[in-house]
């Protein structure tokens, strides 16, 4: 009995050790690793949730680049075919560069690392998983990148309409729940977390009301619209005021 436990335990210890080693040793090469390992899904997820990561200006650039590699929003059928050659994927290579700041690296590095020590069956399994992941990444990144673009668009629009009252201070926070319909029209704005300053709260609500609609969202696949933009939150949190 104990032996049965010991072996897997040792194996996991070893693997974890390797992971740690790889993390520390490969630190310098990371960037290249990321590019090869195409951890697109994690990058995309990180971006979507943490919208503050990207600034309104740099975002528009990806817009022009992305459409080239994958013009179609639902390449689900084609992708598995392409996945036989996962490495040369051009879009994936570019993406990590754009999102160099988020650090999904710890997750990316582990996979290639244990490779030399594992059996053929395991290798096959990993390959299969990678293929699947790549396919998913393709898909997720396509819509993900689109979403990111629209997030930036919403952000910039609201910024343009947001007129802060003189009582606004850096560090105040008001969170609004926004509901859209597929035309991009704002149908509901509610304060879910007040800043405690009613003039500040009003300025935030009015920024969204003045924007009124984000008609560009109509071009988004409906599944993506439902998933991300049907309901979302806006966190008003000034950082550029005098104080």
């Amino acid at each position: 009995m104990p032996r049965i436990i010991v072996r897997p335990a040792l194996a996991t210890l070893l693997i974890h050790g390797l992971l740690l080693l790889s993390l520390t040793l490969n630190w310098g090469v990371q960037d290249r690793e990321v590019v090869k390992a195409k951890p697109a899904p994690t990058v995309i997820n990180a971006r979507l949730v943490d919208a503050s990561e990207f600034k309104p200006k740099p975002k528009p650039k990806p817009v022009t680049k992305k459409p080239q590699p994958k013009p179609t929003p639902k390449p689900v059928v084609k992708k598995p075919v392409e996945t036989t050659k996962p490495k040369p994927k051009p879009a994936v290579v570019k993406k990590p560069k754009v999102a160099a700041k988020p650090k999904p690296v710890p997750m990316a590095v582990p996979k290639p690392q244990p490779a030399p020590r594992i059996t053929r069956e395991e290798l096959a399994r990993i390959a299969r998983e990678e293929l699947a992941a790549t396919a998913a990444a393709e898909q997720a990144s396509a819509t993900g990148e689109m979403s990111a673009t629209f997030v930036a668009l919403i952000q910039q629009t609201v910024i343009n309409y947001w007129s802060r009252p003189p009582s606004a201070r850096n560090g105040m926070e008001a969170e609004l729940a926004i509901q859209l319909i597929p035309t991009g029209e704002v149908v509901s704005v509610t304060i879910v977390r007040s800043s405690g300053n009613s003039a500040f709260d009003r300025s935030a609500v009015n920024a969204v009301e003045k924007a009124g609609a984000f008609p560009e969202l109509q071009t988004l696949p409906s599944a993506e619209f439902e998933r991300t933009f049907r309901r979302f939150r806006l966190l008003f949190k000034p950082e550029d005021l005098r104080y």
Partner: protein, 430 residues
């Protein structure tokens, strides 16, 4: 056991909550801060004869001067409601008005103004109120309406229903007649409080806005006088040899800082107003002048050239220590502090030109607010939103104001002669 259940239940709930809340959150950390569009519809006049004043126009002007609002021109209004039943939000949304103010004026003496403020985008009434006062003060009544609207929409009390003091000097015949004048915050309704053939200088307000003080040389040499606004009763506070200047009331109203040179060269003193006793604060062979109090009453800022060039220093009344406050540039003088103690305005020289600048007393960042030359005597509004100062226009002294964020500027209507040394009053009736 029950507790454990409750605990597990809350844990489960919060876990659910976190999964459900996996909603996209977009952070907005910047704004464009364009002025908010507000439509101030002409108020209905419900009396006989001519209305006492165009109250809406006064309110409109106040809001526009603040720089926080962009009033809608009357010609662009698609309707002129004066009661809630006549308000059609789409008319206002169509011309991109964010807010709508309507009202009614009734009564002759006293005059009464009823008003309602609407949020056009959310289609709700957000403020209802009324103000009244004697017919002679109808403009002040209108300013109080503007104050209420401003406070509701900005979160900062309005400072329209306040007064200005300033000195005008006629340039005729070289000699020149000095006048100490009191006006509304928009420069309207000027009243001359004192005329003198000798110079009048540095008018200032008591914290309750009931008294003023100034320097007059009517007795042959400069002396500090205190005057009660309501009665015009005057009292000479100092008559020392040499300089008697720059009176500044303490925030509690009990003492007054001033500059006296009876000790040989100008130093800062504080007088206890009840007893008349003097205490000398600074003893330096350099010139110490232009004292002003920190709002907490614990320190006095003043200008001194003890470092070779005029700079602003802080005298701590508790410890007696003096620290230098300004370091940017070779000339910083005439400090005034906002009521929150955070912002200091001053005269700052840059490339040989004198501008009004604002220094953040926490970060010590200096921001130049004015582009004109020869700007002097900054005075800050009681709500900290605007700085009034004296400047030159076509060689003549005029008064101008600038928002503390530098965004809005305006000049006060020109008066005869040169206008100098404005002093913005504290809030009235508080």
């Amino acid at each position: 056991m029950k507790r454990l259940h409750i605990f597990l239940f809350t844990v489960a709930l919060s876990l659910m909550a976190t999964t459900v809340r996996a909603e996209l959150t977009i952070e907005i950390t910047q704004g464009s801060d364009d002025p908010a569009s507000i439509a101030v519809v002409p108020f209905a006049w419900q009396g006989s004869g001519a209305p006492p004043a165009d109250v809406a126009e006064i309110v409109d002007g106040d809001l526009a001067r603040s720089g926080q609002f962009a009033p809608v021109a009357r010609v662009d209004m698609l309707g002129r409601p004066t009661a809630e039943a006549d308000v059609f939000y789409r008319d206002w949304r169509a011309i991109n008005a964010e807010y709508l103010l309507i009202g009614r004026v009734s009564g002759v003496n006293p005059v009464r103004v009823d008003y309602e403020l609407y949020d056009v985008l959310r289609q709700t009434r957000i403020l209802t109120g009324n103000q009244s006062g004697p017919a002679s003060e109808v403009r002040m009544v209108a300013h109080r309406v503007a104050d209420a609207v401003y406070e509701k929409l900005t979160g900062v009390p309005g400072a329209f229903a306040t007064k200005l003091l300033y000195i005008t000097v006629d340039r005729k015949d070289g000699g020149g007649l000095s006048r100490l004048t009191l006006s509304d915050s928009d420069g309207a309704s000027p009243v001359v409080l004192l005329k003198s053939g000798e110079p009048l200088l540095t008018p200032t307000w008591s914290p309750d806005a009931r008294h003023i003080a100034y320097v007059s040389s009517e007795s042959g040499r400069p002396a500090i006088y205190r005057q009660e606004l309501a009665t015009g009763k005057r009292q000479q506070l100092t008559n020392f040899k040499g300089l008697n200047s720059s009176p500044a009331w303490s925030p509690d109203g009990r003492s007054m800082a001033m500059v006296l040179s009876k000790g040989g060269n100008p130093d800062i003193y504080v007088m206890d107003l009840a007893s008349g006793q003097l205490k000398q604060l600074t003893r330096h062979y350099a010139i110490d002048t232009e004292p002003t109090w920190m709002p907490d009453g614990n320190a006095i800022l003043f200008t001194s050239d003890r470092g070779g060039k005029p700079q602003i220093y802080r005298y701590d009344l508790r410890s007696g220590a003096t620290d230098r406050v300004t370091f940017e540039g070779s000339y910083n003088a005439r400090p005034r502090i906002s009521q929150d103690g955070r912002s200091m305005v001053m005269v700052h020289r840059q490339e040989g030109r004198f501008h009004i600048a604002l220094q953040d007393l926490v970060t010590n960042r200096v921001q130049i607010l004015t582009q004109t030359d020869l700007d002097e005597s900054p005075s800050i509004a009681p709500n900290g939103s605007m700085v009034l100062y004296a400047t030159k226009q076509a060689g003549r002294g005029i008064l101008a104001a600038v928002a503390v964020d530098g965004a809005a500027k305006f000049s006060l209507p020109a008066r005869q002669g040169d206008v100098r040394e404005p002093a913005w009053s504290p809030y009235l009736n508080r």
